[in-house]
Symmetry: C2
Subunit: 350 residues, 2 copies
Amino acid sequence: MKLQNLISKIRPLDEAAMESARARQADLTKPPGSLGRLEALSIQMAGITAEAEPKIEHKVVTAMAGDHGVVAEGVSAYPAEVTAQMVHNFLRGGAAINVLARHIGARVVIVDMGVAADFDPHPNLVIKKIASGTRNIARGPAMRREQALAAIEAGVSVVESEIEKGLDILATGDMGIGNTTPSAAIAAALTGRSPAEIVGRGTGVDDAGLERKVGAVQRALTVNNPDSGDGLNVLAKVGGFEIGGLVGAILAAAAHRKPVVIDGFISTAAAMLAVSLAPQTRGYLIAAHRSQELGHQIMLNWLGLEPLLDLDLRLGEGTGAVLAMSLIEASCKILSEMATFSEAGVSDKE
Amino acid sequence: MKLQNLISKIRPLDEAAMESARARQADLTKPPGSLGRLEALSIQMAGITAEAEPKIEHKVVTAMAGDHGVVAEGVSAYPAEVTAQMVHNFLRGGAAINVLARHIGARVVIVDMGVAADFDPHPNLVIKKIASGTRNIARGPAMRREQALAAIEAGVSVVESEIEKGLDILATGDMGIGNTTPSAAIAAALTGRSPAEIVGRGTGVDDAGLERKVGAVQRALTVNNPDSGDGLNVLAKVGGFEIGGLVGAILAAAAHRKPVVIDGFISTAAAMLAVSLAPQTRGYLIAAHRSQELGHQIMLNWLGLEPLLDLDLRLGEGTGAVLAMSLIEASCKILSEMATFSEAGVSDKE
């Protein structure tokens, strides 16, 4: 099986490269440890890439889009057609992710994983549509098991194509009206926590909408009874096509020793599925930020990740991930570009 | 008096520009509030610059250096000659601040405010030496009142020259072995908190060094009895030349409606003095990060500022400030470059 083959390629972080990066950090012209998390990041980057001085040249964010049948339950503040409209906005460069990706110099790869509208061909759009939106998870499974596998494999293929063009770091992004609902269902299924602890307001539902959303997640779990020991089952029962695409993207990046910057709530649900399919993926993940969405901290705790930023973001699209990417790039430049004590003729600690 | 004249030019934030930025944020293609602190930052930037869509082209970090007589009390993990050695490292581009400034595209302006060594002329070095290091604050005043005023005015003149070359945002940076000690004394004097609550390990003193440092700050306060109602008196009694330079830099930026990104412990002490001299400066300040240095949170609370980053940094030089600068620039680009709902043909909230 193709996916099992990919998963078997995901190796532990490279200890020798990490040791070498750690030694160099200690010799740079600054008090040891004074650059805090930037130092730790550069060492993790060395372990991921198996390079003592990792370089980031090509930065890529994959904005994966899909629609969700569960929107019929009144779980979103925006109408479902906004998914397709926002894909057009991405293609024209007017969305937040376009602005932030330009700011940090990242390439945006827009992927139709399962939008309920058809797009004309466009040089920046990759069409991997599994179906025109998922089914309503409050009433039955989101998709068939083969579709879940196809979504993951599509995500793998997107990232493998981008690696051929040049990719040194991947940020995950999403677009899909209603997609905080399946993400919450995935988180509840994998952590065993109650929907009320995890479901948040998404793009901004009111109190009644929040109550409908908690109910929809509860029904999704009851009706589908996802098997928390089987990531593919969880994805098929209560997931989404863009979430499946992100799972594949994450697994492919890890298999090719590329760091993955995990954005907010939806991307973190995908990361949980990737880690549940391949636990060794965890070392390749960097959590970008702590989302304002209620259950995000529970999900980060389950993954054992401490996010880099805490800016009250809750937009998705990969916006937090590209901001964090720039910090990760900075950490690598510190490692390779700073002078050492002996090079600079600076006296070390007394 | 020149300084009073400058201070009188510091105006409140521009309400009309802020209102216009707020209205535009609400019309951009994202759920309202979903970019969290980036939205608030862009609105503050509009108020600071009095522009509805502020643009950042020229980013400047001033790395101000000075030596400290209090090093004689054994308060630092590094010998005093490191201040001058690090200035040379800055000039050669090998320090952390050089690497991070290059990463985000900022200009580094290195200023000798009072290093205990003389430098040959260098195109990137501004020499404003007030004296070759301060006197030992544990035994008497750091400097004379005229020197404190001269240090502030030198900082003003550095920033005014940079504004002529092009400066849209200023980051504060410092270099000075021993300078967490006067910074802690300033913080204790202005907040009334005890030295033990504020003094941290700086570049990394051991337990005995920490005890000596708390004692030195305590003696500095007892011997000098700084007047917390008079910022110039506090600077002269327990401050430093680079701290005075930063006070002037902050006041000049505010007077010219330029945002100031405050780095860590030393820069925050300078910001406290600037606010104590001119309370209306506060609106022009953006706190870059929460330093690992013990009393930094107390100082941020006194200023009423919530930092953008929390990355366990404790290096100074302006390193946290330049990282934050990139986020502030991103917030301005979001405001001016994102499409609105009507431009993009995206349906608004139901």
